[in-house]
Structures are given as structure tokens and as C-alpha cells.
Amino acid sequence: MKIWIEKQKHLIDFTLASLARRKGKNLGLLFIYGLLVFVLASVALYTHALRTEAQKVLAGTPEIVLQRLVAGRHDLIPPGYIEKIGRIRGVQKKEGRLWGYYYDSVVKANYTFMAPRNMQVARGEIIVGPALERSRGLAAGNGISFRSYSGELHTFIVADVLPQTSELVSADLVLMHEEDFRAFFKYPEGHVTDVALSVANPQEIKNVALKLMDALPDSRPILRDEVLRTYASVFDWREGIMLALLSAAILAFGIFAWEKAAGLSAEEKREIGILKAIGWETGDVIKMKFWEGLLISLLAFLLGYIAAYLHVFHFGSILFEPVLKGWAVLYPSFTLTPHIDGLQVATLFFFTVFPYTAAVLVPIWRAATTDPDTVMRG
């Protein structure tokens, strides 16, 4: 065992020295390789962070949201509808929610108007989200007017701005008093937008949803788990599509690596010839070349991954943001929580090291089986 380790140590030593002798070529390879890892790792890290963020956001939402459908479209919940649900075992709380969208032609963006149940907003006042604060230049104490869909102008005083920390969910939010809300949208008395139900036991959610469907055939229960799963699939899918598109880059890299490994310089050929003349076996040369590939691979992987980490978590992933995040006028600005996932690193390793190794196998063998006399004579 000790002899084996000694041998590998010497091989690595020799390989490093031989790599250093051809700096230009190897640095070029390292750069391209690192760049590939960087691009792939950026995509993977960014989508993973978005996924985690979505999970965190949804953790606080109600387990089931019940909507009423009319002709397949979402409709208001009339008075007495919630009572029809009756008592379902396992449901801790059910409450009607009041919210809607408002299109602001000034900034050409949609706001979410909402009358919160758990927060007191005085009549004539609103609390706005951070994105609104930025886009309309609002601050506490300012007044703002919105033209409602009926054409009337409603003026509100900004009482407060929601904290930055909740921006992912509250960017475009406008909170107001229930009566203001009803007056603004001309909401019929007693109607609500949808119903939120909290269920304590996660294993009961499915049963509760089935009972809801039974009691109210015109309703559509939306489960939090389903939303979560959809988000996870959507982000995975976007990541997968990106990777599939980038597979062309992986292929190009494979060809590049093949070329680099195949185009042995006369000097390298001589080197291998001399090594074999002084007693190296073909197996040893392959081992040396293998160490060369491994060292370059690991170094490129490390550099590329670190660069991707910085790109995603310190520079907001400027390169891939538009594709992966989705788009909105009032998009929340948020910082992602750095997170490294084992599966992701393993997958990435498969995507980069595997094609590289596969591409350089044949050239390595060709170099290793050269006859010493042919090279030295030539």
C-alpha cells in the first residue's frame, strides 16, 4: 500500500512539473473547462436557491385555498357559502379572504390589493410593499390616488411601508381596510375572493380536500403541497431545459478536450518516447495522463464552482436571471440564501468530468502506445 502511494505521489509530482512546462496550453484548457463548470454550476445553484426560497415563502401560507368556479373561471364566493362547508374534522380555521389585482397605468404594473384579517389598517390609509415604495417614490405620510375600475378617484394616505425582509411575498402588496377595499372594487356586500383553510395534520389535507369537493362541487381546492410541487417541478424543468441547451456547450467542450489531448506537440511526443525508453510502461504513461486529467478536472471544477457561487449569491446571477427567475414589472428584489446541495454537486460532476474523461481516453491511449524509437528518430 505504502509503495503504491509513493508511486502515485511521484507520478503526481512528475505530472505537475510536466503541466507547468506547458503553461499556455494547460491554462487555456483550464479556463475553458472552468468556464463550462461555471455556467452549469450557476444554473444549478440559482435554481436551487429559488426553489428553497419558494419553499420558505409558501411555508407560512394556508394548507388549502378554496376557490369557487363559474364556467371554469374563478369567481367570488357568495355569502353563506363558507357555512355550507360545515364542520370538517381536522380543519382548524376557515376564513374568507379579500384580495384583487389593480393595474396601475402610471408604472404599467399590477398591484395586489388586500384587506388583511390579522392586521389593522385604518380607513383611508394603506400600507404598501417595498417595490411600490421604489416605483412610485412613496414614503410614510404621503398621499396617493388610484383610479378605480368604476372610474372614481380614491385617495389614500400611506401609513407604513412593509419591511424589506418580506419582499419576496410583499413587493407589490397594498394593504387597506376592508370597507375601503369593497368601496374601491365595488365588491358586493358579504362576498369574498376565496377561502383559506388551515389543517393541522399534513396527512389529513388530502381527505379534507376530498370532503370539500363533495360538499361544494363548484369549488376548487388548491393544496399548498401541490403548489410547492409545481414550483419545484417548474424550477427543475427550467434548469433541465437550460442544461439540455447547454449540452451543446458540453459537446463542444468534449471536442475541444479531444483536440487538445490529441494534438500532442513534438516535444510531448519526445517526452513520452524518452519515458518509455528509460523503462516506463504503457500503463504508467496512461496513469500519468490520468493524473494530469484528474488534476485539471478537479482544479477547473473547484474554480468554476467557486466563481458560480460568487456569481449567484454575491452578484445576483446577472447572467441567467431573466431565464430562470421569470418576469414581472414589480419584481421583488431579494437576496438568495446560499445553499450547496450534495446531489447538485454530484450531478454537476457527471456533467463535466465525465464527458471530459470520455473525450480524452482515446488520445491518451494513442500517446501512451507510441513507440519510443519512432518518436525519437522523428
Binding site: R229, L343, T347, T369
Partner: protein, 334 residues
């Protein structure tokens, strides 16, 4: 659901591996038909030169297969969040009927790959490459298996539908379901415990004996011991080790222990266990070739070392399992 990065990686690895093996197969036929180490003909020289390439290529495929098996399990576990009713890898593998066959084939190929690597190692140590024909015959035999593995994985991954309600490990590994897994799960903890530690002690002793002795008898015995200990260990994990980890008297799942909720403890168990089984069984198989003259020196040294690895890994496995049992708050036996 094919556009999952890990799935793309697995399919990429499987198809590239198959492609490489197919490329190697004409050469394998040539070797089997024309290899003659005593000849100095041009063809023989060419074959000898090419065998470096194809040995490296197949060794690479084997290494990738070992990693794929790991990634497959890892991925199945991660995917479980996407299916209704799935709590761990079992649910994800149960989404369609190809999940578990794909897993079993991955594990079988894992053992085959380690065996091939061991044979390759022994072969390259000897001066006259005595096992070269066997090596390439094995390669040809493995091609259908690799093709089947790719096919199963394709079927499995293409058939993943997020709206399928799958069954959770609780139903598969409960004591009263009519499956082999549940039969094993229903083992009484006490006999299972005795079998688990008994077989481990036997396997460790046999492997240790072969490590020192390097003889024929001890070689075969240690191979059989490693196999028996592997089966008993899996049964033991199902029957009681998992219970201690979950601190729950009825949860027998061998996959939930891989989850972050249980601090990935499963990997600590499975990695030494699979390493030990692969090394021990390879030692047993290699023993068959000990009487070839050119391998008389090589094989005993190699099988001895493999048995050593098996012994150490089984000791490690037993220690880790015992530590998990010792640290648990569950009282299964008085």
C-alpha cells in the same frame, strides 16, 4: 419529468457507457478469437496495444457505473418531494413499475463492475495477461445488462407522472404486507440481532483469516461469508437497525435513513457495507484463478488485500450500526 438535471446526468452516463461497451465489443470478439500471447504476429501486437485502450475504457465505464448506482439512489430520494404520497425514495421508485427493477439492476451492475475491476487488476499484474479472454467475455455478457439498465431507466424516468399517487415506505415495509421485504421486516428483533451480529462476526473472522493466510479454502470461505453477511446485514437493517435510527418500533424503511432528517445516517451504513460485500465477493471469485501459473503470486496477494478491505469495512459497518443502536432512545429488547 425527464428534464431533471440528475436524470439527464444518469441517462447520459448510461447511454455513453453502453455506447463505449458497444464500441469495444468488436475488439472483444477479436481478442476472444485470436488472442495468443505466445505469437509475435502483427495482429497479436495490435491486439496487445489496443487492449490498453479498451481496458481503460471499460474500467472507466465500471467506475461510472459505481457512481451512477449511488447517484440513482440519491436522486430517487431527492425526487420524493415531487410525488403525492411519497415520503422517501421508496415512493419515488414506486411511481411506476420500472423504478425498483431499475434500482436492483443498478446494484447488480455495481457488483459486476467491481468484480470486473478486480479481475482487470489481477490480469494487468500478471506478465502474460492470463485473464484477458475472460475479461472481454464478461464485457460481452455485460452489454445486454447495460442495455437493459438504460432501457429500464428510460422507461422509469419517462413514466414519472407527478399526479400519480404512489405508496409510501410505510405500506411496503410494514410487517403485514405480502412482500419479501415485509417478511424480513417482520423478523423478531432478537433472532435478527443474533443473525446480524453472528454473520458479521463470521464474515470478519473469515476475511481476517484469509487476509493472513491467503489460502484457497479461506478465500472461498471469506467470499461466501461476505455474501452471507451482506444478506444478513440488509435483513438486519430492515428488521431492527432502522427502528433504532427512527426511534420508532414499526418504521422499517431502509431508504428513509438516507434522508437529511436522519442526518444522512444511511450513507454511513451503506457505503462500508457495499464496499465490504463487493471486496469480499470479488476476493472469493478471484480465488478461482489462483492455480494459473502466472497468477500464483498475484491472486493470493490481491485476494488477501481484498479480504482485508472486506474485514475492515465490515468492522466499520458493525461499529457504526452498533453506535447508532447504542445512541438511540428506543428500547426494543429488555
Amino acid at each position: 419529468m425527464i428534464f431533471q438535471p440528475a436524470i439527464i446526468a444518469l441517462l447520459l452516463a448510461a447511454s455513453l457507457s453502453l455506447l463505449m461497451l458497444i464500441i469495444a465489443s468488436p475488439f472483444a470478439m477479436q481478442v476472444i478469437r485470436h488472442w495468443d500471447i505466445t505469437s509475435g504476429s502483427e495482429r497479436q501486437l495490435k491486439l496487445e496495444r489496443l487492449t490498453y485502450l479498451f481496458s481503460t475504457l471499460v474500467a472507466f465505464v465500471c467506475l461510472v457505473q459505481i457512481l451512477s448506482a449511488l447517484l440513482f439512489v440519491f436522486n430517487a430520494d431527492k425526487m420524493s418531494v415531487m410525488f403525492v404520497g411519497a415520503m422517501c425514495a421508496v415512493g419515488a421508485l414506486n411511481v411506476n413499475e420500472f423504478g425498483f427493477p431499475a434500482l436492483y439492476l443498478q446494484l447488480a451492475l455495481f457488483f459486476l463492475a467491481t468484480l470486473w475491476l478486480a479481475i482487470n487488476h489481477a490480469d494487468s499484474q500478471a506478465r502474460d495477461y492470463p485473464l484477458v479472454k475472460l475479461k472481454y467475455a464478461l464485457l460481452l455478457a455485460a452489454i445486454p445488462l447495460f442495455a437493459l439498465s438504460l432501457g429500464l431507466q428510460l422507461q422509469y424516468f419517462l413514466g414519472l407522472k407527478a399526479d400519480v399517487i404512489t405508496s409510501c415506505c410505510g405500506s411496503l415495509f410494514s410487517s403485514d404486507a405480502p412482500t419479501l421485504a415485509s417478511e424480513v421486516s417482520a423478523l423478531e428483533p432478537k433472532p435478527a440481532l443474533l443473525m446480524f451480529y453472528g454473520s458479521l462476526i463470521v464474515a470478519i473472522t473469515l476475511s481476517g483469516w484469509h487476509w493472513r493466510d491467503k489460502g484457497n479454502l479461506s478465500g472461498y470461505a471469506s467470499g461466501l461469508g461476505a455474501l452471507a453477511a451482506f444478506v444478513a446485514s440488509i435483513a438486519g437493517i430492515l428488521a431492527f437497525v432502522s427502528l433504532y435510527i427512527y426511534e420508532h418500533p414499526h418504521h422499517h424503511c431502509p431508504f428513509c435513513i438516507l434522508k437529511p432528517e436522519y442526518d444522512y445516517q444511511g450513507y454511513w451504513l451503506y457505503l462500508p457495507l457495499f464496499a465490504a460485500a463487493a471486496a469480499g465477493m470479488s476476493a472469493g471469485v478471484l480465488r478461482v484463478f489462483a492455480n494459473r501459473p502466472s497468477l500464483a503470486q498475484v491472486v493470493p496477494a490481491l485476494t488477501g488485500r481484498l479480504a482485508g478491505i472486506a474485514a475492515i469495512s465490515y468492522v466499520l459497518f458493525a461499529l457504526i450500526a452498533s453506535l447508532m443502536i447504542w445512541q438511540s432512545n428506543l428500547i426494543l429488547l429488555d
